[in-house]
């Protein structure tokens, strides 16, 4: 092969940047969109993260490293975090797998109900589960003390495990439902024809095929669990501190930013490593398999020796979910949770008035800006990633989903460190304490989900469709409007919902950024919970969920779309 290469020596350190700028310019009208996308990701994910790392390597940061790494408390914090992550990952994956198997591979009669129950944790505020668990199984819990009379306190590892496995189970569930449904039944039938028993079939065919899904779910739940903040605050108790609560306390309690930075780096490292591993190995294979239509549908399992344990476990999980969420409703409608069960609407009246009402309106306003922003920029990024060849594409792809890997609390710390003073000689004003930074936190948080959904939808569009349109004379912009947009509208709708629900329920990225002028509803709930006003917190949680559901209904009315049955978009 003879080719004359035109290699130009990098003349200055700015060369790569200039080349990037050049290739953005070459993209014409999409160039602007690409630039905006790069700006959002670069300015509000990457730059803040770099600031954290820099802070942890400053003089005070280095002092903290030596101090923290030699203290027994830090080591136990690290151990707690890892143990919690691993166990939640295992438990959540297992629960998700069982629920998915019942959903896809059995003739269970109430599948639809089961599906909704399995997805319930997706829209619940992050720590409502913890409050309920505490009320049921805490030191003076309804079940532990009143029913069984034991002095058992679930707070700490036990409670957190329960709360996190339930909270993140839907991730695994959706993952497995998708995988099991796209299985080529013919494969399994072939094994069956060869005389394999059901168990053998499962061990040799199904489990190996599910292995990537198992690994994926475990890692995702692990990352989400170690990043979670709300649950450990409520359920951790005094003697079970994890990295995320450590960061939170370092900022709001000790005003020790270097310590927060060091803890952040400790939390960031495993998250990023796992993310990178997933990004480069696990995810690659998935797009290929999803597109093909299944050749044969696998037969439902009917053997009793399989069904009985499967149903039993599923029943336990379902009962736990129903009990925990049901008890939130009980708490919301009664005087004092666990003590005075007199029905009342007082909690709701409180939740819909005064400071709480303000917070809801503020949150809605912010989410109303961040939702379309995230949906639009996510769509553009996804379009650019899937349809366009340009230098820096891989980087954009990586960076846009990086927001998943960076734990919310770290996004919060990063934005705090990065924008607590004017930048570029006042070109960018101090953002700390403004609504802007809250909107940005919401946006970068929702962005990866939107990108994922849209990339999935776009990948299913054949590139030939776009080319056919262009070959018939349409400009790229016309093609986008007339062909691509209509075809990915359902996905766009899911991403709007996703990004809205995510914004309304997120806590960790914004808890460090709220100000007296801009209150966030989840932060109000946490406040109630921390002060033991569980009834108020429960009522607020329900108000929040109701508002989200109403908004989804409104959105689907406006856009004319139904929430699809397979909400695989909510995974991750």
């Amino acid at each position: 092969m003879t080719t004359n290469q035109h290699k130009s020596a990098p003349s200055s350190p700015l060369q790569p940047l200039r080349r990037l700028a050049g290739s953005i310019k070459a993209q014409g009208s999409f160039g602007v969109a690409i630039a905006v996308a790069l700006l959002i990701v670069g300015g509000f994910v990457i730059y803040p993260t770099i600031r954290i790392i820099a802070r942890s390597l400053g003089v005070k940061g280095l002092e903290q490293w030596t101090e923290l790494l030699s203290s027994g408390t830090t080591l136990s914090v690290l151990r707690n975090t890892v143990v919690l992550g691993v166990l939640s990952g295992l438990l959540g994956t297992f629960a998700g797998l069982v629920m998915a198997l019942v959903q896809v591979r059995t003739k269970f009669r109430f599948k639809r109900t089961l599906h909704i129950i399995s997805l319930l944790p997706v829209i619940s505020p992050p720590f409502a589960v913890s409050m309920s668990i505490l009320s049921l199984f805490g030191r003076s819990g309804l079940i532990s003390k009143d029913l069984f009379g034991v002095r058992y306190d679930i707070s700490g590892l036990d409670g957190l495990l329960l709360a996190l496995s339930i909270s993140f189970m839907p991730v695994a569930y959706l993952n497995f439902v998708g995988m099991l449904q796209s299985f080529d039944g013919a494969l399994e039938e072939a094994a069956n024809d060869l005389g394999g028993s059901l168990v053998h079939r499962f061990r040799t065919i199904v489990i190996p095929l599910l292995a990537p899904g198992i690994a994926n779910s475990f890692l995702l739940i692990f990352v989400s669990a170690i990043a979670d903040l709300g649950n450990p605050i409520v359920l951790g108790g005094s003697n079970f501190e994890v990295l995320s609560t450590g960061i939170y306390l370092a900022i709001v309690g000790e005003f020790n930013q270097p310590k927060a930075a060091v803890f952040s780096v400790m939390l960031l490292l495993p998250s990023l490593l796992i993310f990178a591993a997933q990004y480069f190995w696990l995810n690659k294979k998935q797009y290929v398999t999803i597109t093909g239509k299944p050749v044969g549908t696998p037969k439902p399992v009917e053997q009793r020796n399989v069904l009985i344990p499967l149903y039993t476990i599923a029943l336990v999980i379902t009962a736990a979910i129903v009990m925990i969420y049901g008890y939130i409703v009980v708490g919301a409608f009664t005087q004092v949770w666990n003590i005075d069960f007199t029905p009342t609407l007082e909690n709701f009246i409180g939740a819909m008035n005064g400071a709480s009402r303000e917070a809801m309106l503020d949150t809605l306003k912010l989410a109303a800006i961040s939702t379309p922003l995230a949906a639009f920029s996510g769509l553009v990024i996804a379009f650019v990633i899937t349809q366009r060849e340009f230098k820096g594409r891989g980087l954009l792809d990586f960076a846009s989903v990086l927001g998943v890997a960076v734990p919310g609390i770290i996004i919060g710390v990063g934005l705090l460190l990065a924008y607590n003073a004017p930048l570029f000689g006042g070109l960018i004003p101090k953002l700390q304490g403004t609504a802007t930074i809250l909107v940005l936190a919401f946006t970068v948080r929702a962005l990866p989900g939107v990108v994922r959904v849209a990339v999935g939808a776009l990948n299913q569009l054949s590139k030939n469709l776009e080319e056919a349109s262009i070959s018939l004379g349409a400009t790229p912009a016309q093609t986008f409007r007339k062909i691509i947009l209509p075809l990915i509208r359902p996905a766009l709708f899911s991403s709007l919902i996703w990004s809205f629900a995510r914004s309304m329920t997120s806590l960790s990225p914004i808890i460090l950024l709220v100000t007296p002028e801009w209150r966030i509803f989840t932060e109000r709930i946490l406040n109630d919970a921390q002060q033991g006003r569980y009834g108020d917190a429960a009522a607020k949680s329900m108000v929040l969920v109701t508002v989200i559901l109403i908004a989804i209904g409104f959105l689907s009315l406006v856009t004319g779309f139904k929430v699809s049955n397979d909400d695989s978009s909510f995974a991750k």
Binding site: T3, S462, L465, E467, I470, S471, L472, G473, T475, P476
Partner: protein
């Protein structure tokens, strides 16, 4: 988009007149993770106005790449394209008066058949009345009347194919580009669509470039065929030129069946080649190849077989334009209209022959397997070709 105001029922294809597209030294290098891949080496080609030109070659030889460069979906690494004498280098794909028909049809799934067909016209801001009129005309030419309100998913494969074609021709492109448009259809429908497509192309007189790896498709449809291999053009010619006068072993072997005979050059003078072949010598017109790389090919239908009682006593003969060699019949394969024979010559060379059958001359008139035979081959049927290219299967 330039929509040419050419009448729909234009002139018949006349491959003698002007050049529509000129491809000048086009090279394409793909930068891949595993290095640089030169998909097109340096392509020079002239596409005549109104002709049906087929690009034929094995998988991966660069056919699609060349077509996509014409359409503007890929930029050539080097070289230029001229359409009616004007460079296309800076013309984006949507401004090129070309329309492409894809292997997957690429019908817009959210639009009806009529909307699909009207798409290009709407983009070109043609008046509603004219869109209606032109869509109706095309629907009737394509035998799609009554299907205008259906969605693409509600059509059969052949109908989808016709909609894809209709959508492309309705904008009256200067050049129609096809990338294996028939390969998704089953064999019967493919044959039918093949002649349909050719009929429509003749009727419209639109210059067409058609990519395929199916040689019988290429033979049946084309005014001219471009045979490609590994990123370069092997030969360009009419179907019969390509078949009867292949210039390389690759072409001879890729199009139809060919016997490849080892030859050495005895002498080369005044445009005449004297070749040592099968223990004798023959003289052929010199195609102007350098002597070291010459092989001789012969089509199986030019090999005549008859019984011979004692092949071992037979001496190879070259008389009155016929070469006669003896051997044994090793294989007989009856196919209905013809029989394929395999002969092992005395020096071990294997030769393929085809006997066509008629009512008067059937398989019973052929020697039986294992019989001694003598084969006679007209010298004029031999063809000296460049042996440069390795045989591909």
């Amino acid at each position: 988009m330039t929509v040419l105001n050419r009448p729909m029922s234009g002139k018949p294809a006349d491959p003698t007149d002007t050049v529509a597209v000129r491809v000048v030294g086009v090279q394409k290098i793909f930068d891949t993770k595993r290095g640089r891949h030169e998909a097109l080496k340096s392509i020079d080609l002239e596409i005549t106005d109104g002709e049906f030109l087929t690009i034929l070659g094995p998988s991966g030889c660069g056919k699609t790449t060349l077509l996509r460069i014409l359409a503007g979906f890929e930029t050539p690494t080097k070289g230029d394209l001229l359409l009616d004498g004007k460079s296309l280098t800076n013309v984006p794909p949507n401004k090129r008066p070309m329309a492409m028909v894809f292997q997957s049809y690429a019908l817009f799934p959210h639009m009806t058949v009529a909307e699909n067909i009207a798409y290009g016209l709407k983009i070109a801001k043609i008046s509603k009345a004219e869109i209606k009129e032109r869509t109706d005309v095309v629907l009737s030419i394509m035998d799609l009347v009554g299907l205008g309100d259906r969605l693409p998913t509600q059509l059969s494969g052949g109908q989808q194919q016709r909609v894809a074609l209709a959508r492309a021709v309705v904008v009256r492109p200067r050049v129609l580009l096809f990338d294996e448009p028939l390969s998704n259809l089953d064999a019967r429908l493919r044959d039918q669509m093949r002649s349909e497509l050719r009929r429509i192309q003749r009727q419209l007189g639109v210059t067409s470039v058609y990519v395929t790896h199916d040689q019988s498709e290429a033979m049946a449809m084309s005014d001219r065929i471009v045979v490609m291999s590994e990123g370069h053009i092997e030969q360009v010619g009419t179907p019969s030129e390509i078949y009867r006068q292949p210039t390389s072993l690759f072409v001879a072997d890729f199009i139809g069946k060919a016997n490849v005979l080892t030859t050495s050059v005895a002498s080369q003078s005044n445009g005449t080649l004297t070749l040592n072949i099968l223990d004798t010598q023959i003289q052929l017109p010199d195609p102007g190849l350098s002597s070291s790389e010459i092989t001789t090919v012969l089509r199986p239908e030019d090999v005549n077989v008859s019984r011979h009682p004692s092949p071992n006593d037979h001496v190879p003969r070259n008389e009155s334009g016929i070469l006669e060699v003896a051997g044994w019949l090793r294989g007989v394969e009856y196919l209905g209209s013809s029989t394929h024979l395999t002969i092992e010559l005395l020096d071990g060379t294997l030769l393929a022959a085809v006997e066509q059958h008629t009512a008067l001359r059937g398989p019973q008139d052929l020697p039986e397997e294992g019989a001694g035979v003598v084969v006679s081959m007209p010298i004029a049927a031999f063809r000296a070709v460049s042996a440069e290219e390795r045989l591909l299967v």
